[in-house]
């Protein structure tokens, strides 16, 4: 916490803390990936024997049931073994068992070599980068799946895959993009930036933070490995509607359980953000002085902790119907089919805002500092986030206008849905007003932010169509929906993630990205994104349903054009990856504050020192006082590293 530690990050500990054996012993029995792998195997075997033993004990035949053994051994015990193996629980287990703990051990802080990114690390900056690299790996995999099924859809008829594989590809694509890219990528950016913006040395619960990260790869690997299951990957869509999901092959279980791990990760992170934002603000950092990115993550975290348990519940119910023969959602046993959709959307509609609000925060930071003007209507911007948070819980059934739910529920849900346009509109107009008369620097983060504003307006307007019940009845479950969600989640969320990555790249890596490649990336993405998704509005309204491997030949030409555009969109990502990798390795050294922004993360060196601030900063004003003579956000003596850079 204090400056003293930061001089001696590798504190020497008394000898009894060192393992009494050699390096080989340490490799296998010390915390790390090797121990993680064998303990995962051990976990699986224990889980398997537990199931077999219990079935033998009660004389339940058959003793071997693959799905149950897979759930208990493979999807609960093995991941727990892995987490224990890499050392996520070491501190807590030492504490519980009364063995000496090391409260001042900061050996898990900071990264001294690339290997430190593959360990349980408690530094929020390291965790932020772990999150981002991991999520971009899953983004790549999810994107490749999209390329694959766009190839299939380039012509009517089946060419490359059968329809179960097609359903699997579409389902896993959406699941990865939502649970393993957009949600955690925002968590990654926030992990890096939020404590710095607050003037805090780290998150409130660094060990919990590390644990939340390590749950992610477990979920991702679970989703992807469903392709290896007999019968193929889960193919009931990312929405996994019952009763279809209950009759699906084994792969469906991977979805039911993967969501639990991803959900647990998001809940822990959200709790951590809430506590951090409430309790770890620097002196003088009142709520009305917090940057909008912090506000955005505060509201997002509230959404996550309130809503996420609902999807966990919905998937457990489906799982119980599958393996315990309950009948939550099967009418034969008295279950209620629409119950699934109500519970699912009670999470998954707020999830749309979980995937959008952090992006709103990023865009506010980028537009303000690149226009050199204060955010227009700062307080209303913060309040509109709260407005979306509250309204967001009262609109879930607009996903069910044609589902056969109670008729009277449709009009109230339509009104609340349309009302969400008001706080969202306030945000869009305020961004535009922030641009107005500014001194606009049109660099890569700004291009993505402006691309976001215009594309998000299109996504919002198609949302107005879908909010109106009669139009929704005509357009629901068609490619119009596919177009709408990609304008919101790609033109919306993904553009803001790119804006955020370019904006904080110098802060995270200490190096500058290549501006020319960044602009190429933007324009290629922007044009091919529109060429891919705009025509989908048309084919949807004209009569092409979503989630089909084969379609009416009349849509053949347009689908061919869409597929070509989608390949260009995929290729544009290569420009991004190339830029990121080469710039990280040998880009020019970045200044502490290349954008001359006011918020706290820019007042320390790039990358920031291990504990962020040598001295706790004193916040004295708003975060966006551009153009106000003599205005300051905070008073602080720069960290030692920063002084050295400036010396």
């Amino acid at each position: 916490m204090t400056a003293a530690h930061h001089d001696t990050p590798n504190v020497e500990y008394p000898a009894h803390f060192e393992p009494p054996h050699g390096p080989t012993w340490k490799l296998f029995f010390g915390p790390g990936l090797v121990r993680g792998v064998w303990m995962a195997g051990l976990g699986f075997v224990l889980g398997m024997f537990l199931v077999l033993a219990l079935r033998l004990w009660w004389g339940w035949e058959p003793y071997w049931i693959t799905e149950v053994i897979l759930v208990v051994g493979g999807m609960v015990a093995a991941p727990m073994g892995f987490l224990a193996g890499i050392g996520s629980f070491d501190y807590w287990l030492h504490y519980i068992s009364g063995r000496p703990t090391r409260p001042e051990d900061h050996s898990g802080h900071g990264a001294h070599s690339w290997k430190d990114y593959f360990r349980v690390n408690t530094d929020h900056k390291v965790i932020g980068i772990q999150y981002l690299v991991t999520t971009f790996v899953f983004f790549t995999i999810g994107g490749l799946m999209a390329m694959f099924f766009r190839a299939e859809l380039a012509q009517p008829g089946l060419q490359f895959v059968d329809s179960q594989s097609f359903n699997g590809l579409v389902s896993v694509h959406a699941t990865l993009m939502i649970f393993l890219f957009i949600i955690p990528a925002f968590a990654g950016i926030a992990n890096f930036v939020v404590p710095l913006m607050l003037g805090a040395p780290d998150m409130a619960f660094p060990r919990l933070n590390a644990l939340s990260f390590w749950l992610l790869p477990i979920a991702g690997i679970m989703f992807i490995s469903s392709f290896l299951a007999p019968g193929g990957a889960f193919g009931a869509g990312w929405t996994g509607y019952a009763p279809l999901a209950e009759g699906q092959p084994l792969g469906q279980t991977f979805f039911n359980m993967g969501v639990q791990w991803a959900g647990a990760s998001s809940i822990m992170t959200a709790l951590n953000f809430l506590v951090t934002i409430i309790t770890m603000r620097a002196p003088g950092m009142t709520f009305w002085r917090m940057p909008l990115l912090v506000w955005a993550n505060f509201t997002t975290s509230l959404l996550v902790v309130i809503a996420t348990p609902f999807i966990a519940g919905s998937q457990f119910f489906v799982l119980f119907d599958r393996i315990l023969h309950t009948s939550f959602f099967t009418p034969e046993g008295g279950g209620y089919v629409l119950g699934y959709q109500h519970i699912f959307w009670f999470y998954s509609h707020p999830a749309v805002y979980i995937m959008m609000l952090p992006g709103f925060g990023i865009v506010s930071e980028v537009i303000s500092s690149m226009s050199r003007k204060p955010v227009f209507g700062y307080r209303l911007m913060a309040l509109s986030l709260m407005g979306i948070l509250v309204l967001g819980f009262s609109v879930w059934a607009h996903h069910m206008f044609i589902a056969g739910m109670a008729d009277w529920l449709r009009v109230p849900m339509m009104i609340t849905t349309l009302l969400i346009a008001i706080p969202t509109g306030i945000k869009v107009f305020s961004w535009v007003a922030t641009l107005w008369r500014g001194r606009i620097h049109l660099n890569t983060p700004m291009l993505f932010a402006l691309g976001f504003v215009t594309m998000f307006v299109i996504g919002g307007l198609s949302g107005i169509y879908l909010g109106s019940v009669p139009i929704d009845i005509a357009a629901s479950d068609t490619y119009f929906i596919v177009a709408h969600i990609h304008y919101v989640l790609f033109g919306g969320s993904v553009f803001t993630i790119f804006a955020g990555i370019y904006f904080w790249f110098p802060k995270m890596t200490g190096r500058m990205y290549n501006e020319r490649l960044g602009k190429w990336h933007f324009w290629l993405t922007f044009v091919s994104f529109n060429a891919t998704f705009f025509p989908m509005h048309y084919i949807g309204l004209r009569g092409m349903p979503r989630r089909v491997s084969d379609y009416d030949a009349a849509f053949g030409d347009l689908n061919f054009a869409i597929s070509i555009a989608s390949f260009v969109l995929g290729a544009s990502f290569i420009v991004f990856v190339y830029n990121m990798v080469t710039s990280w390795v040998r880009g020019p050294i970045a200044e502490a504050n290349p954008w001359r922004a006011h918020s706290l993360e820019w007042q320390v060196s790039s990358p920031p020192p291990i504990f962020n601030f040598d001295e706790i900063p004193q916040v004295v004003g708003g975060p966006y006082e551009y153009g106000v003579p003599g205005a300051r956000h905070a008073v602080l003596s720069p960290a030692k590293e920063a002084q050295e850079v400036h010396a």
């Binding site: 509607y241 009418p331 209507g377 009302l419 620097h441 009669p470 479950d477 309204l541 009569g543």
Partner: protein, 234 residues
């Protein structure tokens, strides 16, 4: 400043015209073949006009700002410290509120009109099953068909259910769509206004054969319908 506003409006008009051309030059909606879809199409145009206006305003303001106030990279001045404008903020809270509530009211009216059954509609029972549709005409004994045949200008009430998983009944030219759900009955009304052949499409992912779960819908004159009924019953 006045020149600036003229330029801004000009950009807005150009964008508005371009977007309007996109909206009218392509036929975005299938030809309507039902009274219900006629009403939905009116609503669609209402939403489209709204969207064109809002998109043009936002896009024009962004394009204009970037064109007018872009500075070179090495510029290190700040813009004017404008923190907000209460009047403007009230306007852009109130005006969208009025617009969306207006759309909401019109939508509610259309929804109610599309849901009001006449005294004696033709009753058709729709059964969704992996991966085929079945239609039962209760008014004509146990008349069953794999093809949907409807008399023109007579309201039909579809009562649906599903045998296995959720399916969704959609005839694009009718504009109406409804899920067929196992365990419950759902209904929807269609009043065909045009004779011809249309497609019945399943729009809710229902498994392996989802893409192929289609049937033919035929709208015929009352005379032809009666003839078809007689042939089927024979």
């Amino acid at each position: 400043m006045r020149k600036g506003i003229v330029q801004l409006v000009a950009i807005g008009v150009v964008i508005g015209v371009l977007v309007t051309l996109v909206a009218v030059l392509f036929q975005w909606l299938p030809t309507s073949a039902s009274e219900e879809f006629d009403r939905i199409q009116d609503l669609y145009w209402f939403a489209t006009v709204l969207s064109i206006v809002i998109f043009s305003i936002v896009a024009a303001a962004v394009v204009y700002s970037v064109w007018k106030w872009r500075v070179p990279d090495d510029d290190d001045a700040d813009g004017p410290p404008i923190h907000g404008h209460t009047g403007l903020e009230i306007v852009w809270t109130a005006v969208p509120a009025i617009l969306v509530i207006a759309l909401g009211i019109v939508s509610a009216v259309v929804l109610s009109e599309n849901g009001q059954a006449s005294a004696r509609p033709l009753e058709v029972k729709v059964i969704g099953q992996q991966f085929a549709w079945k239609f039962e005409y209760g008014d004509y004994g146990d008349l069953k068909s794999g093809e949907l045949v409807l008399p023109v200008d007579r309201e039909a009430r579809f009562t649906m259910t599903a045998v296995d998983v959720i399916h969704s009944f959609w005839v694009p030219n009718f504009g109406q769509k409804q899920d067929a759900v196992p365990g419950i009955e759902t209904t929807i009304l269609v009043t065909p206004t045009r004779t011809g052949e249309f497609a019945v499409i399943c729009t809710e992912l229902c498994g392996l054969g989802h893409a192929t779960m289609r049937a033919k819908a035929r709208v015929v004159t009352q005379v032809e319908f009666d003839k078809w009924v007689k042939e089927k019953q024979a």
